[in-house]
């Protein structure tokens, strides 16, 4: 483990990841609200405007349809735009482009058109922003054929997945978790690329496989720490991406542990954990010694107060409790 002074924040990793790609490829341009001289409301574009200037980093009006639609037109004609939608809740404002235009144009033109763009957005709860600025909406994108979905949990993965997303010829929705911005981790090495669709075993274990994404990774790891003291050995898988979905790593792990649980911040109904559970039941039923369990957010709008939010989104205590019961099954 590096000295704390050598650790970097998830927030800084976002700007670092974008800057590395902009240095490498002059066709990478950024657009979004307040991303220029203001350096982003979450300070995730610090230094970009200063280094790359106004022809590479563009402030837009509050016009989500124009941001994403413009990025699409630019991506179709030779650029690699990185578009910021400030809060993931606002994806609803440009949902036509995210769900109907960008992911379908290659298919419905018989492969004539390529749309290499990244839509970055701050996802999830934990900061007390209330119901319209706190949702975990990766499941929205998960329901749309034609989008790739990355959701890193660590600063190094932010950089590595950003590199893969920007270089991808397919459209990628890149969920940065706002509850992780202040978290710290190892810096990414030079030329760090994490291929889309390769999950990471964040902690090895023998008794139960816990599948997590973005902010639920540290939640799952904290739960695993507590459970280890009780003699329950939990393997934590950080999916990193929802599409492509690395089911191979999940099923391989299940083969060793025989118990499976998912930890999602999006609501239970329609959540990605349902797909993982479905595939595991379909293709890995004989590997299971217990029912598949899912911990997810409750089906209510995200409340404002911390105390209320804790009731709704997965906490370490809820995960620990659920694992204990599943391990004892």
């Amino acid at each position: 483990m590096a000295d704390v002074a050598e650790l970097v924040t998830y927030r800084d990793a976002v700007a670092d990841g974008i800057a590395r790609e902009m240095r490498r490829d002059p066709s990478v341009v950024c657009l979004g609200e307040d991303i220029g001289a203001a350096e982003g409301v979450f300070k995730t574009s610090v230094g970009l405007f200063q280094e790359f200037g106004a022809r590479r980093v563009w402030d837009t009006p509050i016009s989500e349809q124009a941001i994403v639609g413009t990025a699409m037109g630019a991506a179709m004609t030779g650029l690699r735009p990185v578009a910021e939608i400030m809060f993931s809740d606002f994806l609803a404002c440009c949902w036509d482009h995210v769900a109907n235009e960008i992911p379908k144009v290659r298919y419905m033109t018989g492969g004539q058109v390529t749309v290499p763009l990244v839509i970055r957005t701050a996802n999830g709860g934990g900061l007390g922003f209330g119901a319209q600025h706190s949702q975990a909406v990766e499941n929205w994108a998960f329901a749309v054929p034609g989008l790739k979905i990355a959701a890193p949990a660590t600063p190094a993965d932010v950089v590595g997945l950003m590199a893969a997303a920007v270089r991808s010829d397919d459209p990628v929705v890149f969920f940065e978790h706002k509850g992780l911005f202040a978290s710290r981790g190892e810096p990414a090495p030079a030329d760090h690329v994490v291929p889309l669709g390769e999950a990471r075993i964040a902690r090895s274990g023998d008794d139960l496989t816990l599948v997590a994404l973005a902010a639920t990774v540290p939640t799952a790891l904290a739960a695993a720490d507590q459970l280890a003291a009780e003699g329950i050995s939990v393997e934590v898988i950080d999916l990193r991406c929802l599409i492509p979905l690395d089911m191979r790593t999940v099923l391989d792990s299940l083969q060793r542990t025989s118990r499976l649980m998912t930890v999602e911040e999006n609501p239970y109904q329609g959540g990605w954990g349902g797909t993982i559970a479905g595939i595991a039941a379909d293709e890995g039923f004989e590997l299971l010694d217990a029912p598949i369990r899912r911990v997810a957010a409750e089906c209510v709008p995200l409340p404002f107060a911390d105390r209320l939010e804790d009731e709704v989104i997965p906490t370490v205590a809820r995960v620990v409790d659920a694992v204990r019961r599943l391990a004892a099954y």
Binding site: A66, G69, G73, T109, G110, V113, T114, G146, P244
Partner: protein, 335 residues
């Protein structure tokens, strides 16, 4: 805000005749699409553009071959004007493998990307910001290309119209917004649901852009207006909004007999048919009738051959349902 531009060189007789012939090809292709639908050979829906030919053909004649074009679900005429053949368009409508989108798009999505006709989009207004983006890209890459969005009057009440116009104006992008105002938003008169009389041109003032209402049934007028707007855009002066007044000869879509239109209105607009107007302009210039007849015959034969070829073409291989989702050609979403 209008900037002076140099006068557009008039179309020569030969060039005007060429444009007339292109319009005649489009008209017959639309008629063929209608007939094939009635014969049960075109499935789904179609939104025919018969009556709108002068907008697509006049504008295309004023553009460079490498300029980007984006169209709507009523886009057969733009696709053909920008280089898609009637055969590949009709084959697409007939769900054939030789269709311009390999039978994955259909009538509402005709696309000819290798001719920079970057698609027809069936969600009203969705493509306006795409054209803005293509213009932004052209500006950043310094290519001198333009982007053009063709759209209907109905799109002017959609949020994307305003978002795309504002951004294009603020960034001074080389993009032309060309509204085909055919007086009806689907089945409803556009005036009944719009706060201004000229739904596109009147909104231009809100973005400090030039907005012009033009005769969309006169191919020479469209050519002139687009030529001047293109010159302005290429000079870095930014976008222009052109509202071309025109009329559709058929209903909104294949199921609409358009009974809601007053007979006198229909008669007035049919008398101003863009093909009839171009023909009389050519005659007035002294272009011989046999040359006009030859243009008609050429169009007739081209479309007849296209129909035959499209009918004879094979259906798509079912395996192609699982190609072209991703850039590597595959549709695989998991390991």
């Amino acid at each position: 805000m209008t900037t002076a531009t140099t006068p557009t060189p008039a179309l020569t007789d030969d060039r005007l005749l060429e444009l007339y012939q292109q319009m005649a090809v489009i008209r017959r292709t639309e008629k063929a699409a209608q007939d094939l639908f009635l014969a049960g050979l075109v499935k789904g829906t179609t939104h025919l553009a018969a009556g709108h030919e002068a907008v697509a053909v006049g504008a295309s004649a004023a553009l460079r071959d490498d300029d980007y074009v984006f169209a709507t679900y009523r886009g057969h005429h733009h696709a053909i004007a920008r280089g898609a053949t009637p055969e590949e368009c009709l084959a697409e409508l007939m769900q054939k493998a030789t269709g311009v989108c390999a039978a994955k798009g259909g009538s509402m999505h005709l696309t000819k990307a290798d001719r920079q006709m970057l698609g027809s989009y069936a969600i009203v207004g969705a493509h306006l910001p795409m054209a803005t983006g293509a213009a932004w890209s052209a500006m950043l890459r310094g290519t001198g290309q333009l982007a053009v969005a063709f759209f209907g009057d109905g799109a002017t009440n959609i949020g994307t119209f305003h978002e795309a116009l504002n951004l294009a104006a603020v960034w001074r992008l080389p993009v032309l917004f060309i509204c085909e105002n055919n007086l009806y938003m689907e089945y409803t008169p556009i005036g009944a649901v719009t706060a201004v009389p000229n739904p596109a041109a009147d909104r231009a003032a809100a973005y400090q852009l030039p907005g012009h209402v033009i005769d969309g049934n006169d191919v020479s007028v469209v050519y002139d207006a687009v030529r001047q707007a293109a010159e302005r855009a290429r000079a870095g002066e930014g976008p222009t909004i052109l509202e071309a007044r025109t009329y559709r000869h058929y209903g909104h879509s294949r199921t609409d007999p358009a009974k809601y239109r007053p007979e006198a209105e229909v008669a007035e607009w049919l008398a101003r048919d863009p093909l009839v107007q171009a023909r009389s302009q050519l005659s007035a210039r002294g272009v011989a009738d046999d040359r006009l007849a030859a243009a008609d015959q050429h169009a007739e034969q081209l479309v007849r051959d296209a129909v035959a070829a499209a009918k004879a073409a094979p259906e798509p291989d079912p395996a192609t349902a699982f190609t072209d989702v991703w850039a590597d050609g595959s549709a695989t979403w998991r390991t």
